[in-house]
């Protein structure tokens, strides 16, 4: 246990790595959302061809391990373009997440009843307006719990970027473990930090969900 102060001393170094972890997660989730939402809309509202293509995209990307996608972007493209590990990581995780986000957003959009769209169209709203102002505001609220899950998954998957050498949390943990010869303690510490991050993510999204919640029926009606 004489190494304990050493380990404790390396916590700032590890937390810096955790910063990379959070950064990758945030960028990947954003990419996943920006790609996943249009795809989900295509899947629900598009014509047969577009909808099938979107479905195929989803099936293909959900059948590939994130690690393989990461390697394709990092090693596979290396002869054409050399992507830095951070970018490869964000893109790989983003692309994988887009398929899962497409599915969860699709579920949320479909659970906003068809009556909402009908009423909007009956007012003379064009389809796009109806989707943007009536369906999506409700769908996005409904999607928050599932999205919170996805955020946790991406956070955990960000550890895979270890395999392409990025100095994020896990890679740094490995360095500290090698330096202090205390792999067990260091990796457990690493796990604790990840746990903290996941916990914080879930909690903050819970808060967001509660803040966005629509008022429920009052106990007494007039």
């Amino acid at each position: 246990m004489d190494k304990l102060p050493d380990i404790v001393g390396s916590i700032p170094y590890l937390l810096e790595g955790a910063g990379y972890t959070v950064a990758i997660t945030a960028v990947a989730l954003a990419i996943g959302f920006c790609v996943g939402l249009p795809l989900a809309l295509t899947r629900v509202y598009g014509d047969k061809l577009a909808s099938s293509l979107a479905a195929a995209y989803s099936t293909a990307l959900r059948g590939l391990p994130a690690l393989v996608v990461l390697f394709i972007l990092f090693y596979g493209l290396s002869s054409v373009i050399s992507l830095p590990a951070f970018i490869a990581g964000c893109l790989a995780l983003g692309v994988c997440s887009s398929a899962y986000q497409m599915e969860l957003l699709r579920g949320a959009i479909q659970s906003v009843g068809p009556g909402q769209m009908m009423a909007a169209r009956a007012l003379g709203m064009p389809r796009l307006q109806a989707i943007a102002f009536i369906v999506l505001p409700q769908a996005l609220r409904l999607a928050i719990p599932a999205w919170s899950n996805e955020a946790a998954v991406v956070l955990k998957d960000s550890s895979l970027v270890y395999a392409v050498g990025l100095a994020e949390l896990l890679r740094r943990s490995q360095q500290v473990a090698a330096r202090t010869y205390q792999p067990f303690l260091v990796y457990v510490l690493c796990a604790v930090i990840y746990f903290g991050l996941t916990f914080a993510t879930n909690r903050s999204l819970d808060t967001v969900e509660r803040a966005m919640r629509l008022p429920t029926p009052l106990e007494e009606m007039h």
Partner: protein, 248 residues
């Protein structure tokens, strides 16, 4: 005429490619399937009791089960793998230093992979089973007790047969996830499909082709498994008994 001339070239190219990837990737596929299967079974053995403990157990047992589930669902699989493969030998030396038997904690990479995948999957499976068990109304147990069954009998004979069917869709998802996530064991040098692919790349310097092939194989495995699981679901379905659970 030109098409005919191209054909032997294409065939030759394909044959050369095949020589490159077989039997390497083939062995990799077997390893991946093997690791996934063991991981799933271990997960079942860990997850089902954990779920039952969480629903029916006394408080201390519930706490224990919840702790296990939260720990393994709240941390990345790769980190769990490292703790088990690199961390346990550390604990072993420490135990030995205290004069206690510790050698058994030093696991080879395949066994470490089995255990990490098993414990990880078990935590997720526990949640699916818990959802399914809780969806089986309390009335079922009441009726079972009313005809004289003990709590244990009621759980085993009445609740679990229904719960396992309810959990089947979520469990099918889990099989697909397992095959995909098993790819991380390549990092601790278990010769799975991805590892074999990387090995071929190191010899032939054609990362894109090999990785795309590896990706296609994973995709094929996942699709085949999903189709098979879908058929299994249809076979076992009881009309009126359905539940939607997502992988967390």
């Amino acid at each position: 005429m030109q098409g005919d001339a191209a054909l032997p070239f294409i065939l030759e190219g394909l044959l050369a490619f095949w020589d490159m990837i077989w039997p390497g990737l083939g062995k990799g596929i077997l390893t991946t399937l093997q690791v996934s299967a063991v991981g799933l079974v271990l997960g079942l053995l860990a997850g089902l009791p954990a779920a039952v403990a969480r629903v029916y157990g006394p408080r201390w047992l519930r706490r224990l089960a919840t702790a296990y589930i939260e720990m393994f669902r709240g941390t990345p699989l790769l980190v769990q793998l490292f703790v088990i493969y690199y961390g346990l030998p550390d604990v072993a030396f420490w135990l030995e230093g205290l004069g206690l038997p510790g050698k058994w904690l030093i696991l080879d990479n395949t066994v470490a992979a089995y255990i990490a995948l098993g414990l990880n999957s078990g935590a997720y499976q526990a949640e699916y089973f818990r959802g399914a068990i809780q969806a089986i109304g309390a009335g079922q147990i009441m009726a079972a007790r009313a005809i004289g069954m003990s709590q244990l009998q009621a759980v085993i004979n009445i609740v679990l047969p229904q719960a396992l069917r309810l959990a089947l869709p979520a469990w099918s998802n889990e099989v697909a996830y397992m095959v995909k996530y098993s790819s991380v064991v390549f990092i601790i040098a278990v010769p799975d499909l991805l590892a074999r692919g990387q090995f071929i790349i190191s010899k032939h310097y054609n990362p894109m082709e090999i990785l795309l092939t590896v990706g296609a194989i994973y995709l094929a495995m996942v699709l085949i498994i999903s189709t098979l699981m879908g058929r299994l679901e249809k076979r076992l379905r009881i009309p009126g008994l359905e539940l939607e659970i997502e992988r967390a």
